[in-house]
Amino acid sequence: MALCRRRRHRQEVADKYGITINVTQINDYVESVNQYTAGKFDGVTVTNMDALTIPAAGGVDTTALIIGDFSNGNDGIVLKKGKTVADIKGRKINMVELSVSHYLLARALNSVKLKEKDIKVVNTSDSDIVGAFKSKDSTAVITWNPQLMEVRAEPDSTLVYDSSKIPGEIIDTLAVKTETLKDNPDFGKALVGIWFETLALMSDAGDKGKTAREAMAKLSGTDLAGFDTQLKTTKMFYTPKEAVAFAKGGELVKTMELVRTFCFEHNLLGEGVKSKDAIGIAFPSGETMGRKANLKLRFDASFMQMAADGKL
């Protein structure tokens, strides 16, 4: 996300707390999460599923400080010459294996009582998905935006399933090291502050908002129209209040149960792991899931609550 790259603003907020925040944009998503897990960064923007399988499963105690948005149609399954999800049977599917696309596939197959054995997965880099779909031998892809818009524009193609069928399950978070946050709560406050100020600017209906969105669109390699289309299929939490309500709601717990079951079944929690309970997950309500002695992923709404109460 192209958030808080505006240096001057970041500086103002950081100065308020007397800390320095360095933001680095890494063009390869998985690499950025890996770098965070290796200890090169204190925070990273990551999906709920990858936060569980990469840092948390790698023993890096991680706190999801901000719930930014969830995919509400931003991820989808597109078939050539097919009208429904059931038509996916027997096809070879190009997608990034073991990513949120794979999760979406599992949910889609489940909805029509198919098994993963009924299809074949071809691991395809997200940057080559569009090119892949143009070739004859590719008849099914699963991807996210902006690639999803491109593949939907191909002749004969139909979007048969998308993340709006499973709202709230593919979540974008800003996650930080629990230890850093504990030692330095101001780090969390500064991040949350910058985040929601930027979002307020972004959702501004006037020229200020347009300029901000234009800049963000440019940073994410699209234009204002493309960026706005993407926002339509993303449920953004523009205010801290909405984000807190989502984080504290019961749906998040149900989602994480589905996600961790998927991850365990696909060996994503580690090959030697014998149960999905191996990695503990904590929720804002105090409720936990899995082994309490090994809490590695924590959803924390307290900082967003501070923002909602204007107490940052």
């Binding site: 023993g59 395809t124 090119g131 994503l268 090959e271």
Partner: protein
């Protein structure tokens, strides 16, 4: 300069850097583990052995296949096809360009230009033209090492003494006979050497292609498990690829010495 190691001394010296690297790894791994017992970046040797047992001897939970062998078979097939076709092209065109001035004038500049195209840069084009299946992976290897082989062999032909060619011709040899009976045998050892040197780039192209779109293969597995930092699988795979490449290199060297002993006198 005049102090040379004995046979055993040579072996010990050769092993020394390997032992050193292994020791540094074990120490660094233990240190990371002391801080974070679930660390995945530098897994201890015992965990890598575990991972090897899993991928090399036990059927996979999802596919029921023994992944290391499936991956190795898929990769070696692509590599053999790619290198085989590239070698054939290199030999035929290298010989033709070296022996026939008319062919050289027509093709040598083209090959010189083609060999400068970075193959990875045209990978997206290859995927669209040849699809995402086996063909594009093989083509990438052919494009990657073919021009080098052509150029190397045509240079080897040019380096043959002109007197030899003239002599063969004055003894009545036709162009075909010169090419097949005089030139070809002399450039064969060079061909094998050039293929040996191409093994590295061939593996590079193979793994790059597999990383982008594949359903099995050594590169596929590495880039798949990279998603959850499974270094306990990645590092043994790297060692396995290195071993495979080393064995191929060794086998080609032995083949060359056995088939063309005169070249090593």
């Amino acid at each position: 300069m005049n102090i040379a190691p004995s046979r055993i001394g040579r072996l010990m010296l050769a092993l020394l850097p390997f032992v050193l690297i292994a020791t540094i790894y074990v120490v660094a791994s233990a240190e990371r583990r002391a801080v974070n017992p679930d660390d995945k970046l530098l897994p201890p040797v015992s965990e890598m052995a575990d991972a090897v047992r899993r991928v090399a001897f036990e059927p996979d939970r999802r596919s029921g296949e023994i992944v290391l062998w499936t991956d190795t078979a898929a990769s070696l097939q692509r590599l053999a096809l790619g290198l085989g076709i590239a070698t054939l092209i290199g030999l035929v065109f290298g010989l033709a360009i070296g022996v026939l001035p008319m062919v050289s004038a027509t093709l040598a500049p083209l090959v010189a230009v083609l060999s400068m195209i970075p193959p990875m840069a045209i990978l997206p084009v290859l995927f669209i033209v040849f699809g995402l299946g086996e063909l594009s992976k093989v083509v990438l290897i052919v494009i990657g090492v073919g021009p080098f082989l052509i150029r190397d062999l045509s240079l080897a032909v040019a380096a043959l003494p002109a007197e030899q060619i003239v002599k063969a011709q004055s003894l009545g040899a036709s162009t075909w006979q010169v090419a097949i009976r005089v030139v070809l045998p002399q450039i064969m050892p060079r061909l094998i050497d050039a293929v040996r040197l191409s093994l590295g780039p061939a593996f590079l192209f193979l793994i790059s292609a597999e990383a982008i779109a594949a359903e099995s293969g050594l590169g596929y597995r590495i880039f798949l498990v990279r998603r959850f930092l499974a270094m306990d699988v990645i590092l043994p795979y790297v060692a396995w690829i290195t071993l495979l490449a080393y064995l191929m290199d060794y086998a080609l060297a032995r083949l060359s010495r056995a088939t063309f002993p005169w070249a090593y006198k």
